[in-house]
Amino acid sequence: MSIFSSKNFKLLTEPLNLQNPVTVQILGICSALAVTVKLKNAIVMGLSVLVVTAISNYVISLLRNYIPSRIRIIVQLVVVATMVILVDQILRAFVYDVSKQLSVYVGLIITNCIIMGRLEAFAMGNKPWPSFIDGVGNGAGYAMILIVVAFIRELFGSGTVLGIHIIPQSFYEAGYVNNGMMIMPTMALVLVGCIIWIQRSFNKELIEKD
């Protein structure tokens, strides 16, 4: 089996748009919105989720024939929790300030529905390598939305991107004011709503019927 057959490639690219975990499957919203005030936090969070999804998908897929179906949720939670503890310890060791700002949301990766959803829907019924790719694809789709939302919020909310001032000083002198609304948590919801709107007006098949 080739490493990137066209089927596997589709597994990687579909979650980026038509099967996007955040905007189409509506999974993992909690953390997606809370960590998007700064772009740096969003990138770290996106990468953490990508790593956890990919590896726990792989592990569960390896174990899938040995897990009794009655206790599978607990087994899945333990595998995911182990991965999250690893990620949490690594974040604390190398990017302590970001880990402090992400606070409980790193721990909440355990109950992030993207991970549980992919484990249930994909890893329990597929071979390890496609599961791994599926995990990477879904993690990337999640990270993508996070980064877009965080970019908009940080640019308009604080006038910076990754902590570097982008909006020139002359704008402020001419009367430009940072949009304080963007820093507030509720704007993240409205932004995701708008992203869904834009995405669905390009992909008509995603429009919900009454």
Binding site: G107, C194, S201, I207
Partner: protein, 202 residues
Amino acid sequence: MINIFIKSIFIDNMIFAFFIGMCSYLAVSKTVKTSIGLGVAVIFVQIITVPVNYLLLEYVMKPGALSWLGSSFNGVDLSFLSFMVYIATIAAMTQLVEMIIEKFSPSLYNSLGIFLPLIAVNCAILAGSLFMEQREYKNIGEVFAWGLGSGTGWMLAIVSLAAIREKLKYSKIPAPLRGIGITFIVTGLMGLAFMSFLGITL
């Protein structure tokens, strides 16, 4: 204690201030009736798991917490295990609660039944325990108030969203925005309304 209770319902509302428990919040808020069922189930599990996790943290996992086993355990620090212990407690408790309700109150079981297993993976429950650890509440009474308050706040949010969504069915929304898109924006606006509670100091 009353301060913590009021604060956790309105100011630190799980949904509007922290976006926690969003997945089931968006998925189950189509009708008022089911959202009340899920809300009650969340409160129920929350007031059991948060105090239990608090006791585990205080007497098993904190640095030096095991000293009641003898002085040789003074240096033991198991706090890195907290995620795993919390999630195991939650999964076990929901299972237990489900069995107890099934045994003693079949009518309540019929109305809550399908929601209880869902709750094990509801982030609101795990977040209740994680915030409990982060905010360092002093005694079990405060922890109980936090658990009850955060559950009530979550229920308040889901029931009011469900009520709005029932009315939204009759309004004319641009096709791509229909369904989940407008729900996001409505939640954002509700969050803005809830921000008016921020000025309250208790």
